[in-house]
């Protein structure tokens, strides 16, 4: 639609208002994450200059902070080289405190959490791609007795909320000593009625001629699945993969119940633990928060198309 100028201005105005609702909290978190411990609550939005400044006897001096104390800073004046102790309030602006990131990174094994999350999410995604595509293939391209009955029974399980299942699955894993293991987090995630249904719907749209041609050439069912159906289903597989990956990457409830060893925690669970331990140390907390958000944003920017397509496909056609 072509917009008349006043309408256009209005559209931009509202686009910006909504963008602010999302950007401002993130920006504020970022600013907090690079504030010095004593300045977290000064309420300033842009507290940084390239160098910090302190005014002594009406004269402004550039400084470097030597040490932070409870209510004061020990500073070195860059012009004279003198070291002075000044009250925090006297320091007018301050350079970003990147130390929060270094300290947080050292105090909390974020790198480890990342690797754990990658291991879990990749395993779950690959597992679901295999199990769902095999199932979807059987339900869409093979003829066998009981097929449709089994399919509807399977579809009905979509209505069961995870809540009812978690306690027995927990007990099952406990019985097989799989609590606090990666397998315990991964195994229950390897199957999905939702994904099977999604791929079945997609496989149905692939013309039968191609399959017939392959069968005449002597291909068996597995050959058709591997050489005809899978290669033609790239978009659907990619959509399912991104959807499953994001879901598994962000999953909280299940890994938080299964995992206890800090070395095995996935990112969300590790982050929640970190939040419980460091709460009130806002600078560090916000640094940790940024450390977890930035890769998610990068992941979004790289896989943008797949992610939105995946959501639309898995969402609306499901």
């Amino acid at each position: 639609m072509r917009q008349r100028p006043p309408t256009k201005a209005l559209i931009y105005f509202f686009l910006l208002v909504f963008a602010a609702i999302y950007v401002v909290p993130l920006f504020w978190t970022f600013i907090t994450s690079v504030k010095h411990p004593g300045m977290v609550f000064d309420g300033r939005w842009l507290p940084f200059k390239r160098a910090s400044v302190v005014t002594i006897d009406g004269k402004e001096h550039e400084i470097r902070i030597v040490e932070e104390r409870e209510n004061t800073f020990l500073v070195r004046l860059t012009d004279t080289g003198e070291i002075k102790e000044v009250p925090r309030g006297a320091v007018e602006s301050i350079s970003p405190n990147w130390k929060n990131y270094a300290e947080t990174w050292q105090a909390v094994p974020f790198g480890r959490f990342f690797l754990n999350s990658i291991l879990v999410a990749v395993s779950v995604t690959i597992g679901q791609l295999i199990s769902c595509s095999l199932g979807g293939f059987a339900f869409s391209r093979l003829q066998f007795p009981g097929r449709d009955k089994v399919f509807f029974l399977y579809l009905a399980t979509l209505m069961i909320p995870g809540t009812v299942l978690t306690i027995p699955i927990y007990l099952l894993l406990r019985a097989y000593h799989l609590l606090d293991t990666y397998q315990g987090v991964i195994l229950p995630g390897l199957f999905s009625a939702y994904g099977t249904f999604l791929l079945r719907q997609f496989f149905m749209t692939i013309p039968k001629d191609l399959e017939d041609a392959a069968r005449i050439d002597g291909a068996g069912s597995f050959g058709v699945y591997l050489r005809i159906i899978l290669p033609l289903s790239g978009p659907a597989l990619a959509a399912l993969a991104t959807f499953v990956f994001i879901g598994s990457w962000n999953d909280f409830f299940w890994p938080s119940i299964v995992l206890t060893d800090p070395n095995r925690l996935t990112l969300p669970v590790g982050l929640a633990l970190f939040n419980d331990l460091y709460f009130i140390q806002y600078g560090r907390l916000m640094a940790g928060s940024m450390i977890s958000i930035i890769p998610a944003i990068l992941m979004y920017l790289v896989f943008q198309k797949f992610i939105t397509k995946g959501i639309v496909m898995t969402g609306l056609k499901g």
Binding site: V23, A138, F144, L165, F252, I307
Partner: protein
Amino acid sequence: MTKTSARNAQLLSTSAFRHALTGYAFLLPNIIGFLLFTLGPILFSFVISFFDWNLFSKPLFVDTANYAKIFLEKDSQFWSYFGNTMFFLIVVPLQMGLALMMAYLLNQGVRGTTVFKVVYFVPVVVSMVSIAILWEYLLDTENGLLNQILSLFGARKIAWLGEPQWIKPGISMMVVWQSAAFSTIIYYAALQGVPEHLYEVATIDGATRWSQFWKITFPLLAPSHFFLLVTGFIGTLQLFAPIYVMTHGVPGAARNIIFEVYWKAYHEFEMGYASALSWVLFVLIFVVSGIQWKYIGKRVHYG
């Protein structure tokens, strides 16, 4: 004659058998998963909801005592958890409204839309835990951004996560903020599918933008509304991570049914009682979804 038909029948049955074998072989992973992680658990969960079992003792059959404890016992707080569970449902219409506005704006196709799209869609990949941590700080009483903004309008400082009556609205705001991204993607895709000529006709007829939106756009989005409403309710009835993170896992004024299931099962190890409670939640979800299908789903026409 009879010889050949007998042979055909034999051939047929072996080939039917072979087909079945192939079919179920492909389904094997799903069947194993279904038995181990769906059918088995659901039966088991139903059975132990009639037992008293703390993991370490021998399970003791108690008939319907667990259910009686939920509904009939005097100091049962079930109705408070139930009320909290229902309170959070307010999130669904709010986030849908926010999402619809954002999707509508994106769909106007002005220059720079790509950038706004990134901003609106990004929360979909950020974990609820990161967002909850961020929001815990936004909602801080003394220094939180929200109270700072409110104080510009002369409002008093609210202890969002401290005062019992404010904790649910506080958590709800965060969930709206996060979950609107998903709905915006769904609405945006649906809006892109609305044919342009419908608006052209309406413009010629002199319809205002406002009435175009309510008479054309909104009704055409019915399948999306319905999908988001149903899945939104199912998800929100089981809202866990935001409550857990923002209350640091301590039972408090925001405790809903699933939090209580979690607490009873994994902190107090009352597996029977927790299972009974999870069945109550299951029935609640089932009833709520059923009502939606019956009264709203019927009116949705898929174009």
